[in-house]
């Protein structure tokens, strides 16, 4: 339960971090909050040769609202706590405010970063689900170039993303709440703070329902429907529960996962209406 040996680099600037990633590529891992990575290292599920610590890179520690582009921009080293305790978060990105209490525990959110959770891409994690539900974007940067990838294209499978080995998730962008949008979020886990068996997020407007489901497929999945009601909505949720390809695992059956998609899906949509 101790990490294998590695070289450690404390990047003081973004340039330093990108330089190290350019040099080391797949041998390097970016250490931001470490709340997933350190556990992985302690269990020796990963044994990188180099750790690039960006937790003290001041220029990457920013949370700001871009009013013109109408989005909340969270940089790579900004902790989940620093976003969660933002007084204006409920008005800016209500879905994030609803999801934070479900993410592990506050002691973890104090150090865990938003971008780190996105880069880790656990299929049951809340932040990838919220980013996908809102149609957010990921900013990737390497020494050579910078590019913007939609959340939908960024998540490619279990712990797999569009990030190249020399790229840093420099920031993520959450669209601000639009007038008329209403939100719902809930999840089912064995204990509070545990990984979700199924997590659901809904964005409802006057003429559309958007539902995102995490914990079932190998990445968060989104569906867009008109304002379905009653049996039509139940039917659509049932179709979705089968479409996601739920599987049995050590904890719960595929059948129960489908049940959770139908029930939690119904609840978040009702909550958002």
């Amino acid at each position: 339960m101790k990490p294998a040996a590695f070289d450690y680099v404390r990047a003081t600037t973004t340039h330093e971090a990108l330089e190290m990633l350019a040099q080391s590529g797949e041998d390097a891992r970016v250490l931001a909050g470490g709340q997933s990575l350190m556990a992985v290292l302690n269990m020796r599920l990963a044994q990188p040769r180099v750790l690039v610590d960006i937790s003290r890179t001041d220029e990457l520690n920013a949370v700001r609202v871009d009013r013109d582009a109408r989005r909340l921009v969270v940089s790579a080293a900004a902790t989940q706590g620093s976003v969660e305790w933002r007084a204006t978060l409920r008005d800016e990105v209500p879905l994030l405010a609803m999801a934070f209490p479900h993410i592990s525990h506050f002691q973890i959110r104090n150090r865990g970063t938003v971008c780190g959770s996105i880069a880790h891409a656990d299929p049951s994690a809340e932040l990838p689900l919220v980013l996908t539900a809102l149609g957010g974007e990921v900013l990737l940067r390497s020494k050579k170039k910078q590019r913007v990838v939609s959340a939908n294209d960024f998540f490619q499978g279990m712990l797999m993303t569009a990030r190249e080995p020399d790229e840093l998730v420099e920031a993520v962008r959450f669209p601000l709440k639009q007038p008329g949008e209403r939100f719902g979020f809930t999840e089912c886990s064995a204990r509070h703070g545990d990984f979700a068996m199924v997590a659901c997020a809904a964005v409802v407007t006057n003429d559309a329902i958007q539902i995102a489901v995490g914990g079932v497929a190998d990445r968060p999945k989104v569906e867009r429907w008109p304002r379905l009601q009653g049996d039509d909505l139940r039917g659509a949720l049932n179709d979705l529960s089968w479409k996601l390809g739920a599987q049995d695992d050590a904890h719960i059956s595929a059948k129960y996962r489908r049940h959770l998609v139908r029930e939690l899906g119904w609840r978040v949509i009702e909550e958002a209406k």
Binding site: M1, R10, M38, M43
Partner: protein, 178 residues
């Protein structure tokens, strides 16, 4: 972006780490892979912080880093260089128990004590942020800790009691100044 070459700390070598532990500057040496929890216990001798699961689930190793509760098993000692770290030892500076610890004692909120150091550090941070918590909020905060002795109920009572006494004391002080 300023252009500078990063300093690489090599594996297998000993690196100096200096941090402020409970208000006192302390230094030690460690490898890059040494966890903060082990550094505190083995290098600095601060054995009040306990080590349970070593993957961030049990909460026993919770300390404060720059004033906020964090798992010391999910942080490298080299990351704590230049930081302020507070541990359970800091809650009883003059060898007398702090008010939170006294509340734990009154309510029998511990038995074996293994989880207690971490829980106290979480509660200390939590009560700074939420001075008037509900029972539900306290239970949610405690969900980040595993205690196999108490069943949590006396811990919840101790935290609520401590919070109530702090608020009463605060009100008294304000009345004196009025």
């Amino acid at each position: 972006m300023s252009k500078s070459t990063p300093y690489v700390m090599r594996h297998g070598e000993q690196h100096a780490v200096t941090l402020t532990l409970n208000g006192r500057e302390r230094s030690g040496h460690c490898e890059t892979r040494e966890l903060l929890s082990d550094f505190l216990r083995h290098e600095l001798g601060a054995t009040g912080t306990h080590v349970g699961c070593e993957h961030g689930v049990c909460g026993a190793c919770t300390v404060h880093v720059d004033g906020v509760a964090a798992r010391s098993c999910l942080m490298l000692a080299v990351q704590a260089d230049g930081r302020r770290v507070d541990t359970v030892e800091g809650l009883a500076p003059a060898q007398t128990l702090g008010d939170l610890q006294q509340a734990f004692s009154r309510h029998h909120a511990l038995q074996c004590g293994f989880c207690t150091a971490g829980i106290l550090m979480s509660c200390a941070d939590f009560l700074q942020r939420v001075p008037d918590p509900t029972e539900e909020q306290v239970r949610e905060m405690l969900s980040g800790h595993i205690c196999r002795c108490t069943g949590y109920t006396p811990i919840v009572a101790a935290v609520l009691d401590c919070a109530a006494r702090r608020r009463a004391q605060c009100a008294d002080t304000e009345a004196e100044h009025a």
